[in-house]
Symmetry: C2
Subunit: 203 residues, 2 copies
């Protein structure tokens, strides 16, 4: 080992000691234990996949999970294939497809309402540790569900229950209620370059 | 049904017909079928979870997957618990923990090198459909791995193989090589409000 690499390693060690002290302090200050609301919004790819990654983690830890997928259901999604028969997961899909496929506002509202009732059950069940409401934001943007009813139900859920909500254009009220909000920016998207949606990556 | 709600429904139907035509045209134009490089970067929560969501989808579709986790491995992650024994998944963890825990640059470099060799094997194996390189970007930022060697290996991988790469501060060269880049912005994070990391949600 040369003298300069020894010096470099020593500098690295000091810098990492300072960083560890900083990280440890932040961890020590994070003492609150609570059920979180996590909102994943923005125009980029990765909102629903992020939510299903948290579901994978939750199942890995043996937590009981409920999934309600709004909008989707036209084709077989990999996440549904993996989780729908898992003993820890209850899985509900709206199954009507996108609103530009149905082209029927009254039918969309009825489907949103009956799908929301599945969500309400999960949000009132204290045996359920994690609730994933995939693409919920569109139901609020389109006015298919009443926002204040949704927010009230989220506020009144069992203590310690985590809720993950995905979809573009999350409302200000929803983001204020949330503990964690991540906005996924669409920096580059294969689909815009003419590349087909890919099983595993896109659905 | 009142006249006005009839009119509203008809307007909705026309708007959705226009939207469907637009969406269908975009889908018809997306004809290229190829293995994608997806980069998930930015400071927000949801990069690794998004990657593991795509892994869940891929496993759901019966695809063969390889996972290499750089840095992590100090505690039991839910994604590891779920996938490490899955017949479709091969799982490798660097297992040294964060660089501010080891405080040992030479040991970090040796661990990065031996972990990268696992990644190289996957990136040369055309029986592997999806390769997830979790937290890889830090190995490049810290200079623990040679960037041009990593980029060459990505370029020369089997046709049709998807690669998902996560971590903050993805390099310009990596983002240029990628087909899809999502940047996760940290709009609000529970940890900053003193809330502990939560199993299922955070690990």
């Amino acid at each position: 080992m040369t003298q300069s690499s020894e010096a470099r390693n020593a500098r690295h060690k000091r810098a990492m000691q300072r960083k560890k002290a900083h990280v440890d302090e932040r961890i020590a200050n994070a003492t609150i234990d609570k059920g979180l609301i996590v909102v994943l919004t923005g125009n980029g790819k990765g909102k629903s996949s992020s939510a299903f990654g948290m579901l994978a983690r939750s199942v890995g830890h043996g937590l009981r999970c409920g999934v309600v997928q709004f909008i989707k259901g036209q084709w077989e999604c990999g996440e549904q294939l993996l989780f729908q028969d898992h003993p820890l997961v209850s899985f509900h899909v709206m199954n009507t497809g996108f609103t530009w496929e149905t082209q029927d506002r009254e039918a969309d509202i009825a489907a949103a309402e009956s799908t929301w009732q599945q969500a309400e059950k999960l949000l009132q069940d204290n045996a359920v540790n994690v609730v994933l409401l995939d693409e919920l934001t569109y139901m609020l943007t389109y006015g298919y569900l009443d926002a204040s009813r949704v927010l009230d139900c989220l506020r009144n859920r069992p203590e310690g229950q985590h809720v993950i909500i995905t979809g573009r254009n999350a409302s200000q009220a929803l983001m204020e209620l949330a503990d964690t909000v991540s906005e996924v920016q669409d920096t580059k998207h294969a689909f815009n370059a003419g590349i087909k949606v890919q099983p595993g990556i896109d659905y």
